[in-house]
Amino acid sequence: MTAVVEVPQSFDDRSFEQVAAGFAALGDEPRVLLDAHATEWASPFALVSLLCAGQTLLQRHGTRPLLTVPADKDVTHYWARTGFFREAEALFEIHGAVPRVRQPAESAVLLEITPVRVAGDVHTVVDRIQDRAAAILTAELGLEAKATLGFGMALSEACQNIVEHAGGGGWVAVQAYSWRRLGRRVAVIAVADAGVGFRRSLEATQARRYGERWGDGAALEAALIQGVSRFRDPGRGQGFRGIRKYLDHWDGKISIRSGTARIATVRAWDEDLPLREGLAAFPGAQLQLVIPAAEREVAR
């Protein structure tokens, strides 16, 4: 028998919870199908998180889970342009036609889905994106040129979270697109891994301090709000502080999901919750950084 996890029609960081719930309900069922045939749109966060699901199932059962590609050819074509299938083919048994695509010079995909395993990968990612990010942030999002200066820093620190804490590899993707919920264009950095998650990473140094409160939510608070790290060195744990400072300046947002909790820095333009606990368990950590266009977006 095959257990089915349905991928939502509009697949983003909110509707990801449907996938996480389906994933958590799988139990020990060895044959799993992630069914994306009805999916019409997917955010970079959703795509890198889907890879995490595939990686976990492959490691758990030793066989690749099944993945049906979106029925809509335009959607499949877009997924291909994001680099999703290049990474997915090692993790999933893919059902459906996967188009071969070439990245156009002008594209919303600032950085294709890229694996991050070691520090050298972070260099590659930052190097690859910096010039294009400058053009997108200033020309498309209408931000001051200095917005570019911190973008590479935020990207680097988000990726290093994988290298330093995940205990395994992960993926990063960067895109710019119109965000319907906001009614403006945004630049989005999505980073995901299927590693040990924040709670386990911080447990040895932080659990006693929190006592009964300790859990996924407390671990996310400790990391994002208090800047604590699994290392006792006071110089560690500064990455999220740097990211938050950058996002504060540009009215941007960070959200992190790990285990059964999700934390977010909520903006006036947003309707998110600062902390959600008791969510369906999902492995590793998934981050999303959103930098919105200036209020008076440059006309496109």
Binding site: H123, V126, D127, M153, S156, V163, Q238, G242
Partner: protein, 183 residues
């Protein structure tokens, strides 16, 4: 003796000639090792100017390893012999990252930004900042001069200047205190 070190060049030698970004903690360690090796080869250098002009991206982790750790290790290694550090060629984002990591470790450093502006980065009291700005703009100051300009008691001016000298962001020369850029 003043020694100027192009941090981007150290990155090329220590990590990869194709990188122009100071990102990741391991890169920071490698660059710091390169700077320390240079300073060991040139023990006569007492003022070290770290030039970031050719650096594009600097992240917090790398800033902590290169700048904050360099200061801490230099203080440990050089007991009895002062080495001063001055940062040059910082853009606004670089300065922000370095300011943050220095504050977190209770350190301070003088910096010259790309637009020529001078900043005291890191942890310092308001009084120390006011005193440092006067010393930097005047080119030197004695406690009495500073006290007259800021309408402070002379003892407070002297305390602030001594605190700055203790942090290694000004140099005491007899009765006067000099900014590193004037030394």
């Amino acid at each position: 003796m003043i020694g100027e070190i192009d941090v981007r060049a150290v990155l090329s030698r220590s990590v990869c000639e194709f990188h122009s970004d100071l990102v990741t903690r391991s890169t920071g360690r490698a660059v710091r090792d390169g700077i320390e090796a240079h300073l060991q080869e040139h023990p006569d250098i007492t003022i070290v100017v770290l030039d970031f002009s050719a650096v594009r991206v600097l992240d917090c982790s790398c800033a902590d390893e290169i700048v904050a750790q360099l200061l801490l290790r230099s203080a440990e290694a050089g007991a009895g012999r002062a080495t001063y550090f001055l940062l040059r060629g910082l853009d606004e984002a670089h300065a922000d990252q370095i300011d943050e990591v220095l504050r977190r470790r209770g350190l301070a450093l003088a910096a010259e930004e790309r637009d020529g502006g001078k900043r005291l980065l890191g942890l310092a009291t308001d009084g120390m900042r006011a005193a440092w700005e006067r010393v930097a703009s005047r080119g030197s100051a004695a406690p009495e001069e500073l006290a007259a300009e800021l309408a402070w008691p002379v003892a407070d001016a002297r305390d602030a200047l001594d605190a700055l000298a203790g942090r290694g962001v000004v140099i005491r020369a007899d009765a006067h205190y000099l900014p590193l850029s004037a030394a």
